[in-house]
């Protein structure tokens, strides 16, 4: 599909927006073919992206019924569970989606690691990927507190205590996370802001960078011993 202005509405759109060229670059591009079950390992990254979008959608819908304050958070979550249309399903999806994110990110990373796909020229893609892993864990940690039930409160208590163990800056980190010496309303609004504003902005930027590099360098081909043997013959390694 290339730009051909035949005067019709399609040509007009292509000339103004370049969607045809975007399509060519993103979807009509050629990728190396992987054989058999190995080819399915290449779906782990897009599956992660899919669950991320699911988390964004369910998270937005949950935020419409949630109140980030210790006085009302618990009751608003209960309200979501019992009274909001499909609320139970929605919260279940978001909860299990969080676990799925960790699982899929982990598997995606193992695939990349064992295939040596982080090697030249894809080092940058890998490094952004590691940062994405850290951000996903950050999402899990900040989201855990929000229902303000026993589990949320005490797991966050332990988590912020651990952050407080960091050499030198620990006590300050703990105070910053908690919004004061004790856990309370400030902790909750802080975690909420991190979870719905700060981390989504960071993750959005990182995902864009990650995806750009994936398309720019092309998807890595599965490693073979034959290709490695060819490479070993190259001089000047």
């Amino acid at each position: 599909m290339s730009a051909s202005n035949d005067g019709g509405p399609r040509g007009w759109l292509y000339e103004r927006t370049g969607v045809d060229r975007v399509w060519d670059a993103l979807f009509a591009r050629k990728v190396p073919e992987a054989q058999g079950w190995v080819s399915w390992l290449y779906t782990l990254g897009s599956a992660t992206l899919f669950v991320f979008v699911l988390q964004a959608v369910t998270g937005t819908l949950l935020a419409m019924n949630y109140v980030p304050s210790p006085d009302h958070a618990y009751d608003s979550v209960r309200y979501i569970n019992t009274s909001v249309v499909m609320g139970h399903y929605l919260r279940g999806l978001h909860h299990w989606g969080a676990s799925a994110m960790v699982v899929l990110v982990g598997l995606h990373m193992l695939r990349t690691y064992f295939m040596g796909a982080y090697k030249y020229p894809r080092e940058g893609t890998w490094m952004i990927g590691v940062l994405l892993l850290v951000v996903v864990i950050g999402f899990g940690f900040t989201g855990y507190l929000l229902p303000w039930d026993q589990k949320a409160y005490w797991a966050t208590m332990v988590g912020t205590n651990i952050a407080g163990q960091t050499p030198f800056i620990g006590p300050y980190l703990k105070k910053i996370f908690r919004g004061g010496p004790e856990m309370g309303a400030a902790t909750m609004t802080r975690f909420y802001a991190l979870h719905v504003l700060v981390l989504p902005a960071i993750v959005g930027a990182l995902i864009m960078g990650h995806l750009f590099l994936v398309v720019w360098h092309g998807i890595s081909e599965p490693p073979t011993r034959a290709a490695d043997a060819d490479a070993e013959k190259e001089p000047g390694r």
Binding site: Y89, F114, A117, P121
Partner: protein, 318 residues
């Protein structure tokens, strides 16, 4: 660019030429996997949902904090380090692991990509992934630090009402809270259930001159609140027989103010840690509360009156 990198680009370009269009070849597979993932998540969401435990209670010292499963390996690793080195396990090691991950492409550089051609990195990867999996497994199986407490749902409902109605604005419990009304821990047990219920229906009816407002509660709410207030106290005075009973039956295993054995926990301050109902249930049948307890059941061995007496005695140990 090094020669092998140039050669790689050439080889990759050729592989790409031989390859297939991303759409629909890869997109189809991606969509299928996404659909399967969505199906699994929907099943989990509908059948298991997301649990919501009791409202957070900052005063509860017996709760077992359990991190989400993907943090368990870290908690399990933490146990292997003594207190002074805990920061190493908790922050320094994970931080170093992340930095190591970021640096991997620079340490394992060069053209060889097949796992068998990179034995060191392949072994390291298997070791690390296996280690995390093993720690997670043992973390899932490790027993809870505190025995799970059988909670009276009526008491929990009452406790929630107590916070919803902002009772702590006027009342304190063991010294924490407002100073307008009496300390409820001191009052509990000195009044009958009926008196408390009448009081909650209309404070002035049983306490003339009380400044407490009429709460307009439902009968069930009054029952919940009564159960909660009654659970706060020590259940009233104990008889002089109770300490003797403790010395005869309990000191074989438990310590009380420096006297007794150390097979079971020291009970010198048990009243501060456990509520009356918990203590009573535990004396009657320990296995109900803590399945692996080696303490014998005293139901049948002691009369109901003796158990109540002993409970009040223990509840007084604060």
């Amino acid at each position: 660019m090094k020669p092998w990198q140039e050669a790689y680009e050439k080889r990759y370009k050729a592989a790409k030429e031989r390859g297939r269009s991303f759409f629909p070849y890869a997109v189809f597979k991606d969509a299928l996997v996404a659909l399967i993932v969505f199906g699994v998540l929907s099943y989990l969401a509908i059948h298991f949902g997301a649990k919501l435990e009791e409202l957070a209670d900052p005063t509860d010292t017996t709760y077992n904090p359990r991190p989400e499963w993907y943090f368990l390996f870290l908690f399990q690793a933490l146990k292997a380090f003594p207190g002074s080195l805990e920061s190493v396990a908790a922050v320094v090691l994970p931080g170093a692991a992340i930095l190591l991950l970021i640096a991997v492409p620079f340490m394992d550089s060069g053209p060889l990509r097949h796992p068998l051609n990179r034995p060191f990195w392949t072994a390291l990867g298997i070791f690390a992934a296996g280690g995390v999996a093993t720690l997670t497994f043992f973390g899932l199986r490790s027993p809870l630090l505190n025995p799970t407490q059988e909670r009276n749902p009526q008491v929990m409902a009452g406790k929630r009402l107590f916070s919803e109605l902002n009772c702590a604005y006027c009342h304190r419990i063991n010294g924490k809270g407002g100073k307008v009304g009496p300390d409820l821990a001191a009052v509990a047990g000195t009044r009958s259930d009926d008196w408390l219920k009448a009081h909650f229906r209309n404070p002035k009816a049983v306490s003339p001159g009380s400044v407490m407002p009429k709460l307009n509660l439902l009968p069930e709410e009054i029952d919940d609140l009564t159960a909660y207030v009654q659970s706060l106290g020590t259940g009233g005075p104990y008889s002089p027989e109770a300490p003797k009973l403790f010395a005869a039956d309990c000191e074989v295993c438990h310590t009380m103010h420096g006297k007794g054995a150390d097979i079971g926990p020291d009970l010198s301050h048990i009243g501060a840690a456990r509520e009356r109902g918990f203590i009573k249930n535990y004396i009657m049948n320990p296995a109900n509360t803590k399945p692996d307890s080696i303490m014998p059941s005293f139901k049948g061995q002691l009369t109901g009156l003796q158990i109540e007496d002993l409970t009040r005695y223990l509840a007084h140990q604060r």
